[in-house]
Subunit: 335 residues, 4 copies
């Protein structure tokens, strides 16, 4: 039985709390949130206690693992605190929006030898996982081109965007992880174009809300990502991998399979609304996997290095967008 | 070069006239219609002459083949006239709505030894033809069940319905032909239920506008047909054949492949509007086939006997619907 | 907090046990199975106790509700035992395969005034539920025709079939429930054709493994059901409802949305394998609903009467299949 | 009645010859091909004569219009010859693979005031045309991003590639035209990545066989094109246009709508094989349109300038691919 505690009782924290509770080999002991009433409400619902501070969790000898689902700017220091306390860490992306800060944090994690899982949940979605498995099995030969479409139904609150580091570092980072995971290598050159179509406020922050990034790998393989913070038709999560012997593609997912036919045409409902709904199974699977890793002593993947490499790509894309020219990964600060 | 003449300058006559004209080995000499201006208009468009009477066509030694596209109640006597004149005959379904009259006509055709092609055009549609070919090649093993969906966008004019013999004899007859053609045998027992949902006027004529027919073959194979004279979402033409090793299915066809995604959902246009559009290629193919039969001396299929057997099923279905009990094909007048 | 106990630790029992355990307002106290090791194994997994007899459960004052997931021939007497013990009852279909026995059982339930929920789970599937809601909201006008397709991937063990009462009473009963639920009324006339295509052993038992049933309602509405115990392409669960202003349709559901494109064509995986997978969400939803009913004092639906009416249709279909003629519902034994 | 003559009796010449012949207001008088037997064979089939030289066509006072379907390197001089002879010109793309040569040719066309239609046939495809119409009608608001997928089933003969100017100038030029036509403006900045995955021989010629091009318009709108000379799953022609209020998308087209379901999954046939099949209707429509332009005195579109602007983009993409940096359109030789 693994004892978890949770930092952050927001949307994603609630998902993880429920998933811990339903796991036969896990329990949730404490929940912390800066908004204590949010922590209390969730704790009551899942039968956990409320921590009055993060430290109460880190210093609790009963706690085996912490789930970090707080705002992104707090991740790095909570990861460090947890590492120093010897806890296994399940952290929402990103470690930090800054590469140097991220590396610093990962060094501390390394020094303390704790387990760090970075929750790029898409890897645990049944469709994404099946596509990768089939790709590795050679169903379509050698990969040549990858296309990722990631569009959110609507931009987040502007205050969130301000602190997020922008579309490339906060949103497209999922696609950078996906690209590396599917292709098995990190791209070496990145070119980005972008614009602000959805929100003038985002433009004023100096960020894009829409972008297309083209990357090439050392091998010549091409990866193309398009993201937008607003898609009126909902959450759009698609993949195409073209190989020497065919293509594998992932389409969107829907709550029901009902279609309507009348004089206006044939109508189908929108895709599952957003990440909470679309990746509900992935959130379950990633937690099951993390627990299995803890129980077997296996190091989980993706880990902090995966997060670092995706952030490098995000940084390169951001710079390319600002400068209007392709960026070599070697230009981006490193280790 | 085969010289055709055409009886009937209506909707389907115009289709055939154009298809004759575009065939490199055929020409259209004369067109007759009770409405001479309709004949004239079409003749001018395709560069043909106008016949002042059907007899002018039948007695014209230059004419090799006649296409009969006049109202259904005139088919039988025109077929007989053409047979007596020694012309090859391309006749729209049905020969007649009455079994006895149909048999009488076929006897005359037989006596004169002329070629008679009964234009069940669906057999020449690329999708239907491919499904049958693949079925015969054993792709899904031995057929066990067949489902046919045939729904028209809107009922025909009530005057047309009055003379047509009703849904079973006029509309579902296409599906009876399809069932026999796909399954390779004539069903022996027929059960029909029906109703009038689209038009009270059709009900007053004593006809159904909507029906489901279940038929069984000697072999035990089951065929199920559903028809409606009104489908607000357009012309619905689908097939499912279940075999011992799988299913083959045909979906609807569309003018374009455009889809629209917005906050209201995902929308697709309606199927091709009606038979003229849906079976445009089938009309071309059946004429090409008929000409090839004439040129090679091969007897075309479907022929008058196919029409007769489909009419038997229609007759059985009609009686079943009226009586509320299944009808054995042997109960239906025959030869 | 509602305390459940479970009779039957087989496939469906395990599903319900897990779903009780994950519900925040429910607990599972005891599990009984004739195979005590099966009960023990499940009990250990979900943290419940093992009952040495059904009576131990019925006589346990802590137990609020029992879930009956044992073989069908035991349902009726367990329901009666539970009713006499004053427990709320969550029973898998059917009450019994015999109409008289079912009525007898329901009389006892009624006499003891306990809550009885009959678990036709399809009603709780998101797609089926959405279709019905939209139908009731009038999206496609007045219903006119209903088509249900229900095909299992493979026949059950022959011993199961022998005791089941056959395809109509055991398998198609789900579709009879669905038809009544969607159309809001019980059909009055039933015609069935059937055959044995999948298994000669089923034929020897005097049962069909494949059937098409056509039913009509007093109102004239037509319902058509096709079932097969074997579909090589997997579990096929589809619906079409045609109304005066359009059609609503439900397609199959898939584990992933991956498609493969290569020189052999475009390939998609099979539907979710069988009812456990296809209706996983429905099993969760129906239990949530049952618990909500218990907590609010609302009588759940579907109940025993729904089961009885579906069994009447099954009985009529079975007799129609045997006799080759349509059966009026009034011919079937009643109350 | 418009009298056409045809230069080039190859694959595309045969399509146009048949389409002229089936048009009620057009006739085909003469066909020229360097391979006289090819000209003869086609002429016999469509009832035309054979020209012993291009000049015989240009000097024939009966000829109103010429269709140029010869190899691309001959287009410019045939267009000039036709212009000098005062013929209306229907020319396959490109005018020439070189920008300067193209401009020179267009100047001569302008000087002689003849009609020049450049046959970018996709504009006349029902799906592409419907998408653009709906886009202009504002169905999805203001366009923001465009994605074009164009993949051929297999590379052309290497000798063809050698003379073609490469993927950007020969193949992607269709997509450059499409992008400008759909977005209503010429992109101003072009970035290309590419590779040789299909054919080492193409690599040796210094060309790519696969590429992704990202372009931006003055307005900030983004257009992304991906092309490959080899797609094992066939001819892939798709479009997505994202606007402020939704997305319009075009999928592939298929000869039949047959699907197969068995234990291996659900299978669909490949898209229509290649451009001749996929754009059969577009070839008919563009000729009808050209004839209507001639009859009404309207100037047809696309014209030589459209071809020039697309070639500018191709040139920019080619240079971007070679240099690894984005190219401003102003860097490309112009007028």
């Amino acid at each position: 039985m693994i004892t978890f505690s949770l930092l952050g009782a927001g949307r994603i924290g609630r998902v993880h709390a429920n998933n811990v509770c339903r796991h036969p080999a896990a329990r949730l002991s404490l929940i912390y949130d800066v908004d204590e009433s949010a922590a209390r409400s969730l704790a009551d619902k899942v039968g956990a206690g409320v921590a009055s501070s993060p430290d109460q969790i880190f210093q609790d000898g009963q706690v085996d693992a912490v789930i970090i689902g707080t705002p992104a700017e707090t991740h790095a220091s909570f990861v460090e605190d947890a590492a120093r306390a010897g806890k296994a860490i399940f952290c929402e992306k990103p470690i930090d929006k800054d590469l140097v800060r991220t590396r610093q944090c990962l060094d501390i994690v390394k020094a303390h030898g704790v387990t760090l899982f970075l929750a790029f949940q898409r890897r645990f979605d049944p469709s994404f996982a099946a596509l990768r498995r089939r790709l590795l099995e050679g169903e379509v030969g050698t990969p040549e081109m990858l296309f990722l479409t990631s569009r959110d139904p609507a931009p987040p609150p502007i205050e969130f965007v301000r602190r997020s580091g922008g579309l490339f570092r906060d949103m497209m980072i999922h696609d950078f992880d996906m690209a590396q995971w599917l292709l098995g290598a990190q791209p070496t050159k990145v070119f980005a174009v972008g614009g602000c179509f959805a929100s003038p406020a985002i433009r004023e922050l100096g960020f894009a809300d829409t972008a297309v990034v083209t990357m090439t790998l050392e091998s010549g393989v091409i990866a193309n990502i398009n993201c937008a913070m607003r898609a009126t038709y909902g959450y759009d999560q698609r993949v195409e991998v073209h190989g020497s012997q065919g293509m594998l593609a992932i389409g969107n997912r829907y709550e029901t399979s009902v279609r309507k036919f009348n004089q206006d045409g044939i109508g189908h409902e929108l895709p599952l609304h957003f990440f909470i709904e679309r990746y509900a199974q992935a959130y379950i699977n990633e937690l099951d996997y993390f627990i299995e890793c803890l129980n077997t002593g296996r190091q989980p993947s993706p880990n902090g290095e995966d997060g670092f490499r995706s952030l490098q790509l995000a940084e390169a894309a951001h710079r390319s967008w600002l400068s209007g020219r392709p960026i070599e990964l070697s230009e981006v600060s490193t280790r």
